[in-house]
Symmetry: C2
Subunit: 258 residues, 2 copies
Amino acid sequence: MKSILLPALFLSAALVARAEIRVQTVEYKDGDTVLEGSVTWDTTVPGNRPGILIVHQWKGITDYEQKRAEMLAKLGYVAFCADIYGKGVRPASPQEAGATAGKYKNDRALLRQRVNLALAQLRAQPPVDPKRIAALGYCFGGTTVIELARSGADTAGVVSFHGGLDSPSPADGKKIRTKVLVLHGADDPFVPAKDLAAFTAEMRDSGVDWQMISYGGAVHSFSDWNSKGPNSGGAAYNEPADRRSWEAMKQFFAEIFR
Amino acid sequence: MKSILLPALFLSAALVARAEIRVQTVEYKDGDTVLEGSVTWDTTVPGNRPGILIVHQWKGITDYEQKRAEMLAKLGYVAFCADIYGKGVRPASPQEAGATAGKYKNDRALLRQRVNLALAQLRAQPPVDPKRIAALGYCFGGTTVIELARSGADTAGVVSFHGGLDSPSPADGKKIRTKVLVLHGADDPFVPAKDLAAFTAEMRDSGVDWQMISYGGAVHSFSDWNSKGPNSGGAAYNEPADRRSWEAMKQFFAEIFR
């Protein structure tokens, strides 16, 4: 509406055009277990910049997470795709994915350890400003970044996209020292009302700086463009919720990194 | 983070500096009842532009609503402060305010009539593009703009800031043909869980394009800088929730007016 939008958009388009996105595989370890993540950044952005940890859905790192990393790199961030499962552990079927994700959901100590190892990798990447770090995750990864917060990790913020919110140890909410943004499908059948109520109580009792956005008409996986099919299946891509949640994330980052 | 932010901010500051905000009282009528609203706009912004209806809290139009109108005018909108109660009806005490607001909450037909009359006034203001209209309201005004939506009014969107969400006729959700954004204090004791559940069901059953943001640690009146005192009183200003909800509103307007 204001004329200032035009030059800003023009410059932005020019910057995007000259972005040079680089992706590098990063091997790291948890004891004897080899983990394989990746770091993605724009080599044309000068200087140190905030780092964003991305935690994958239940099938491990896929093209989806890598595409999100590129989108974040184009916004000027350094993105690191965490590998929770281990090198080569990339379950192909829903059954395998459910079993693998379940292993970590049922062992929150191991889950916290793996996500904190990935966070340390992100922090050590040369273009990252180690004081400006956030984490985000999708579905299983959303659960994981909330668990990262509950581990007491020192980040500026965590963002869950359609993640599970349950906790076997709600008292751990008191360890949270980061801002929390939950992006939630209002019709998500995999996040039952009792989990929402328990999560709200955990955040409230712990005095956490938290927010939740509920997107009407959206179910599980609303941001995942690979999730075809009707809402009745319980998981489906939802374009408005995808777009709005991405904008909400950008706004959150603008606040925590200002 | 990107260098484009600098020229944009610089230009923006320059524009704000030269804004010329004009406020004009507008008398209009509901039968024999005289209503007194106001229109606020920036005379330096060229051309027609979106119009935003502002519906007041339980004390009627105060300096608070007028200040919000100026803030919207500085963003380039035409703002119209609706008068639901009638000229000179400006209850001073909480008791009077509660009684006056209650009169309209208990007569939703009258409430819808009054808010639609204000909407017509906004639409008729010369600098307003009558095809790009939204409504927002605070507390009682939040309830009112949701009621405006339920009346089937033709707007691009409505935004409720800490408004009540109950409805005596949930089937009216089916009349809604505007986007709905609810900005809610997660600890607001005046919006009980049963109202949230009923509102969610109403929106879901009606297929409305709706979103709700819950701000942790925020109670009723979170955006009202005149609301002093502790959260334990149930109504209190909350700076982060105020700032974030204003940004969410701007993002919503950017979407619906694009």
